[in-house]
Symmetry: D3
Subunit: 267 residues, 6 copies
Amino acid sequence: MAETVRVCELNWIDYDRRLREDAPVVMLPVGSLEQHGPHLPMHCDALIPTAICEAVAARTGDLVAPTISYGYKSQPKSGGGNHFPGTTSLDGQTLIFVVRDVIKEFARHGVRKLTLMDGHYENNMFLVEGIDLALRELRRDGIDDLRIAKLPYWEYASQATLDKVFPDGFPGWPLEHAGVMETSVMLHLHPALVNMDKVPTHPPADFPRHDMYPYDPATVPSSGALSSARIATAEKGKMFVDEYVDGAVAALAEAFGEPRAAKRVVA
Amino acid sequence: MAETVRVCELNWIDYDRRLREDAPVVMLPVGSLEQHGPHLPMHCDALIPTAICEAVAARTGDLVAPTISYGYKSQPKSGGGNHFPGTTSLDGQTLIFVVRDVIKEFARHGVRKLTLMDGHYENNMFLVEGIDLALRELRRDGIDDLRIAKLPYWEYASQATLDKVFPDGFPGWPLEHAGVMETSVMLHLHPALVNMDKVPTHPPADFPRHDMYPYDPATVPSSGALSSARIATAEKGKMFVDEYVDGAVAALAEAFGEPRAAKRVVA
Amino acid sequence: MAETVRVCELNWIDYDRRLREDAPVVMLPVGSLEQHGPHLPMHCDALIPTAICEAVAARTGDLVAPTISYGYKSQPKSGGGNHFPGTTSLDGQTLIFVVRDVIKEFARHGVRKLTLMDGHYENNMFLVEGIDLALRELRRDGIDDLRIAKLPYWEYASQATLDKVFPDGFPGWPLEHAGVMETSVMLHLHPALVNMDKVPTHPPADFPRHDMYPYDPATVPSSGALSSARIATAEKGKMFVDEYVDGAVAALAEAFGEPRAAKRVVA
Amino acid sequence: MAETVRVCELNWIDYDRRLREDAPVVMLPVGSLEQHGPHLPMHCDALIPTAICEAVAARTGDLVAPTISYGYKSQPKSGGGNHFPGTTSLDGQTLIFVVRDVIKEFARHGVRKLTLMDGHYENNMFLVEGIDLALRELRRDGIDDLRIAKLPYWEYASQATLDKVFPDGFPGWPLEHAGVMETSVMLHLHPALVNMDKVPTHPPADFPRHDMYPYDPATVPSSGALSSARIATAEKGKMFVDEYVDGAVAALAEAFGEPRAAKRVVA
Amino acid sequence: MAETVRVCELNWIDYDRRLREDAPVVMLPVGSLEQHGPHLPMHCDALIPTAICEAVAARTGDLVAPTISYGYKSQPKSGGGNHFPGTTSLDGQTLIFVVRDVIKEFARHGVRKLTLMDGHYENNMFLVEGIDLALRELRRDGIDDLRIAKLPYWEYASQATLDKVFPDGFPGWPLEHAGVMETSVMLHLHPALVNMDKVPTHPPADFPRHDMYPYDPATVPSSGALSSARIATAEKGKMFVDEYVDGAVAALAEAFGEPRAAKRVVA
Amino acid sequence: MAETVRVCELNWIDYDRRLREDAPVVMLPVGSLEQHGPHLPMHCDALIPTAICEAVAARTGDLVAPTISYGYKSQPKSGGGNHFPGTTSLDGQTLIFVVRDVIKEFARHGVRKLTLMDGHYENNMFLVEGIDLALRELRRDGIDDLRIAKLPYWEYASQATLDKVFPDGFPGWPLEHAGVMETSVMLHLHPALVNMDKVPTHPPADFPRHDMYPYDPATVPSSGALSSARIATAEKGKMFVDEYVDGAVAALAEAFGEPRAAKRVVA
């Protein structure tokens, strides 16, 4: 198990052997380059699912593909909106095509268990469409046994953890953009990239139920964060990450059966 | 106010006059053709937002454009999935283009207040992208003052109503596909199209947190409904619709100011 | 035969049963939202083929799918041009994709007899391309027995009727935009939507043989009608509609064999 | 006037000078590679408009761009259908893009008078869309004074000529695919490419009013011609071509004013 | 062998017979409309590969399809850049689609040996992609035995010829845009289209290693030629063309086996 | 200068400040996931330009954007071909769109100096097209002062270095796929990812001048390397990297003027 979990660090012969011997899950993190307030780096949505995928793969004997680094346009209510400098987004069609193409290539290699782990809420439906187009084309190419799991890592947080982390009540995932959860997780995974001195302390964003296009940037907190992360800690981050990894490991087992590592240990 | 609220029933000269005199909101319902269990017709997602838009327009003096009748692919957790006979869906890119084109045309007419009311949850991000592409192109055409509101009608249900309708607790909107709310609303709006004798009585669908592609149809209730609508009534439907209309009227006021009808009444 | 002919009013289980028991034709009306002079509503091109399809289906036991409400860009010589307020059109590629997607979905349901009835002349070649792309993809999906008939309803008018309706000679279909035929048919089908007081009385449009892009709007009658409908009557409309329905029923029989109703009557 | 009329034979400096000094019309022939019966070469639809454009340009001092050699899919009722060997067609979107791109480039050069002459009936609406997209993009690029004329050469045949050529009555343009007119014109323009010994003598094709997709190839004459050209002669061809050239010259004058040659003769 | 080598001059029955009897290679020249300095016509990149293909086909018994006349955008270092009047280019996607569509059609006819000969350096990768998309779709259509050769004619020039033509050293193909080779070849093939009086005498273009976008037109020689063709002669042109034809004939033999003419001579 | 050069590690406020204060170049590495023989990891084409960009930025005070990790399809003569397991490629259109979208976003942030450094030869023309589409759209958005430099790092190797590294003569860049240069550079940059024990020792690949589609995988060395890297060393790698960095620094100075670091040092 000392081998890398990163597809990109393997040579093709080892990769090919791994596919044939272990039939591993290939996990594809999908992120974004998006402002995350004044205290977090702009690659949170890529770094977090990548780290979770690598931790999962280290336990299961699976593989992690290179992260898709650019995602769909940030929306005001879940990411602050796409007007911020630094936020660097793709058109929907572009993201759909990237996902479609990459999936088809892994299927060509012989991968039959694929997992997409999304770190950027706005990507979701474009991943769905990219997956659907890939599966449709693959069926035409005679490949009908690829199975893909899309894993929403944040949903593996337990209520107990949420209660502990948010003593005043959990504000909901959308407002968590650059909030307590993401900041805690980053403090745990990449503390050098977090500057807690700059955490905004403004109240959570307050949005009407409808959406305006174009929206008025003044309706979004000028910090770019949708709620304050001042109670974030690395310990909380570890609690989340542990549950995310456990949840994802369990989901892979449910989706694809016995972990691949088992086979390797036996062999 | 006896004039029709339907753009499609106006002749172009009256339509043009209305635009210039009243500067009305044009409301665009977006639906789908999607199975809704054994007891509901397949056009619920089009009929409901169309009816709400027309009721709103009758109060505000606004207009309703022809409904977009086909929507994005049904997903298992919110619509039962796209494998059912009858469910008739568009690719993501197709829906994006339809929305983009129609918006640009209304802007060319001189409409500067536009509203999309979506009746099919899966459409949402493709509407967002269609809106974004339209606004981007319109800016290049020198039109930068079109404002668009996207209205989620179901979010205008009050907690009081939800408590009343669901004495055992509200199961959440996604499981409401062909459930108590949609069925009640259809009983109120189009009772002849509802067959309460066929309402399924199975327990709500139970999904894992992750999504599988392709999914196993056996993981979706074979009725196509995600929860049982057996407690649906027309009275409950009226409660919902009244709140939806009130909520939408208020949202339009917030988004676009004084109702257009005011001007007409004065004039 | 008391059952609805509208797919959208059926629940999926009845729809599925109809497909399996009767193998009906599914008829897809395709229209536009396009100005039709000062005396007709803007949805003529959708309303007319929809009404004909429903009348046909009532006789044959077939089904009518939700109308495609927005069509290709109006051209000066056949629809007055796309500069009028109210005319709301799709790009060619958009319409191609809509038609392609919808056809593929009906094929997935098991429909093997499909009919497109177009009410908007400008749509035609984009329907042809949408059909071709759908059939090409379906063949790759292993479906090669879908047959599609495209029906030009207006061509089922007899010379006798044309002679009777146009005592001074039939000016040709393109100039009939908002003219005697369409107005008569609307007087028969939807009299409340026609305002004969506003019928323009100008002479027919006179176009050179070539087309200019961009065209000068002054070369098109400012009414939006290409000829005068002042001799239109509901009686004439009934004559046309009767022949359209008869013609379409006969065409379906020629294209697809014995009417589906026969089977139902026997059963 | 001894200079070539062909853009492709000019060097760029002479081309540029011609544009600035004469402001000529650039004429773009659009054709197809399509079977034309056993007696005609497959490039008729390219050769004929190219020859007409060159003859026009020789009289008017205008220019002819390289012909677009591949066109839209042949349809049974106007070209025999796309199943014949040799017929080599583009998807609709492809032809739209070619036309759009080429127009935009001529506009970039400074051309402000452009003419499309189509030799292949099926191309028409895709030319319309390519023109519309080009003009839309050009407006965004600040170019709003490009005018484009689309010329239907065959419509410049006079009734007198049709009466002379078809003593038994003119069957209509669609059935003229590889018929008397096209064959006569080819005998006049390219006699070496016509083999009158092989002219089919079967009766004209007889089609129902509706269209079937896929169509049965047996419903199309197996020769690929839609009517017999046995009465075709070079003399008749000359009559047609003379009228086509006269008609096009007159149309250019109507569309764009005084011929460009006038300026050159004077200068 | 007196029959034409041009597909476009054949009727479909002879074409079809040739395909079935000889299984010839169909050669598709791909060019551009691009400025080639003050002394060469703008269609060099189409004329040269077309002439080579026709000469090859005359020896091998193969066929030549109509040339694709418009190519990808001229680049400064290989074609002077796309800012020159006269240069008329397609977007990458457009060229990809044209190539894809045309290849698929030839495959449908039964062609199984196809050759693309490119005369315009900038086209290359878009041809590669068009080929790849066509082969991918054809496999889905059950055609997996089409083989395509892409021939770079200029690479068949021998070092001996280059040494003879360029006594001061060969500057490399990119700088040969409108240079000694292309001019010599045109003097040999189309002397009437070359004006040696206008050959520029400026030194070769001198570019940095990197590329700028947008580039400064002043960094490209204002003549449009990248080097001087003053030593070009028809004799040198003949040397090149002879080697190109020999090289292409040999390449076809290597790619597709015994020349098709052999079969015809025997028969 | 202790600040990170990675855009993705900055928070948006620092990024925005850097843009406004320093007007830095943003450098975008573009790579691929492609087999690189049995001895190199599959992300060489991403790792190498990323490392060079970061080294350049550390000297110039510029910034490096997240690497585009997936590139265009591997070609036999430059990358071994796209049939190898592990090679994971995008369609041309997909890569064009990714490049277009990302460029437009950086321009929106206010970046006016952009650099693309490509590590994967096959990407090149798709980058060109992506750049062209982005600049075209940006002009329509009123941004016409973005300048983009595309840097071919390998061309900054001096002849002296090539002579030293390849005592038997430099085989040319295409055959260097997984060859001496790439291996040496990886030994210098990422020694832990190189396994010199597995370096293939077969002779360089030998290709005909033409390209076949589909190609026979047997015509490509089964190792995936196009030449042997057995003489690769980390010292040679350092020589290359030093020249690449020097060359790129000089190119940026030529393209964009005084290094950004100067400003920062002064300030």
